[in-house]
């Protein structure tokens, strides 16, 4: 599974099926501060991800 982080860095993660929420928890990211897409479609934290999914984490907090 490829995970594109808010800073555009890419992390390849080999892991069993888990949810978006557990992934964010592992990465230390508050789910309220980001939106997450799986293969281009927005998904909530309870969505199960894994395999060849491409996960993009987008930071939404915007100062100014």
């Amino acid at each position: 599974m490829n995970v594109i982080l808010p800073d555009q860095g890419i992390q390849v993660m080999e892991r069993g099926a888990g949810t978006v929420g557990t992934l964010l928890q592992e990465l230390g990211i508050n789910p309220l501060e980001v939106i997450v897409s799986r293969n281009g479609k927005l998904v909530p934290e309870q969505t199960v991800i894994g395999g060849n999914d491409e996960i993009r984490i987008i930071r939404i907090a915007h100062g100014g």
Partner: protein
């Protein structure tokens, strides 16, 4: 937590069988792309109606930074406005002069107003005070948000008056409002905590309305994303100097663990506001002796700042 699963391992919308795009922890429900759009627009319409924020014939000046909140505000108001006969919009962008930041958001604001057919005016700190923010902040970076906030408010108010607006709408969301309540409490600033310039209509000042004040920041981002309107824009380089940055992280942590925290903070502020109505803590409204703007003392914040900057 139990939920129905859509093909692909995701939950489905509480209103239909489509895959969900967001979970609303306070309501404990999932919504799909179409229903989050309807839900956000319905709640904004309800906020506007309940508070009487817009009237027939109003000309609403929308503070449009080009970021997500003001973008959502302009999109929603342009859709809702036909409900108020004769009401119109003018978008106002304030160019503070922040290198590497504002150019991109101004371009986004121009594209959006062009697409929506909304009149767009751009005003700058250079027009207002003779220098851009980067220059004004030389040796004062830790005061960035205070200085910028005062000048931005002044520039927006002046531009709205020039444009003949009857109210100013800003894109403050629920997170912003809750952060402000906590920041004012942390500063011990009761008058600012209970100030509400959106109350009533007065000849003294243009009412400032916040139609997105009940919508969490995340829902605004999702509202835009599912309509192809969300852009990843640069973050203001001065954000790290703000008290708000720390408060934002702390509150988001509480909200994640205890959904409803932000809403409770804002509701408590309204209760305090009602208790303080008509008491001396509200203070009297004066006119600034230099520019004539309404203020709480002899000089308004913008004129005091102008003096301290030697302008």
């Amino acid at each position: 937590m139990g939920f129905s699963a859509a093909p692909g391992g995701g939950p489905v919308c509480a209103c239909c069988a489509e895959p969900a795009v967001i979970y609303q922890p306070v309501n404990k429900r999932h919504l799909c792309d179409a229903h989050i759009v309807c839900d956000v627009e319905a709640r904004v319409a309800s906020t506007i109606r309940e508070a009487g924020q817009i009237r027939a014939g109003d000309r609403i000046a929308v503070g449009l930074s080009g970021g997500k909140d003001s973008t959502a505000l302009l999109v929603i108001l342009s859709r809702l406005l036909p409900s108020w006969p004769g009401a119109g919009l003018v978008a106002i962008t304030v160019d503070e002069g922040i290198a590497g930041y504002r150019t991109e958001t101004i371009r986004a604001a121009e594209t959006l107003t062009g697409r929506l057919g909304v009149e767009h005016r751009i005003v700058s700190f250079c027009d207002l005070i003779g220098d851009d923010l980067d220059t004004l902040l030389a040796g004062r970076k830790t005061q960035a948000c205070t200085i910028c906030g005062i000048l931005r408010k002044k520039a927006l108010t002046d531009a709205a008056c020039t444009a003949g607006a009857t109210a100013i709408a800003t894109g403050h969301n629920l997170d912003d409002e809750a952060q402000s309540v906590l920041m004012n409490a942390l500063r011990g600033d009761l008058p600012r905590l209970i100030r509400n310039t959106g109350t009533g209509r007065s000849a003294a000042f243009l009412p400032r309305i916040k139609p997105l004040a009940a919508i969490p920041e995340k829902e605004i981002a999702v509202y835009l994303f599912v309509q192809g309107l969300f852009s990843v824009l640069p973050e203001c380089p001065y954000t790290s100097y703000a008290l708000r940055a720390g408060v934002r992280t702390m509150l988001a942590g509480f909200e994640n663990l205890h959904p409803g925290t932000m809403q409770h903070l804002v509701e408590n502020k309204k209760i305090i506001e009602r208790y303080c109505a008509g008491t001396p803590v509200m203070g009297r409204l004066h006119r600034c002796r230099e520019c004539g703007d309404p203020c709480s003392g002899d000089l308004c914040q913008a004129c005091r700042l102008r003096h301290s900057l030697g302008k």
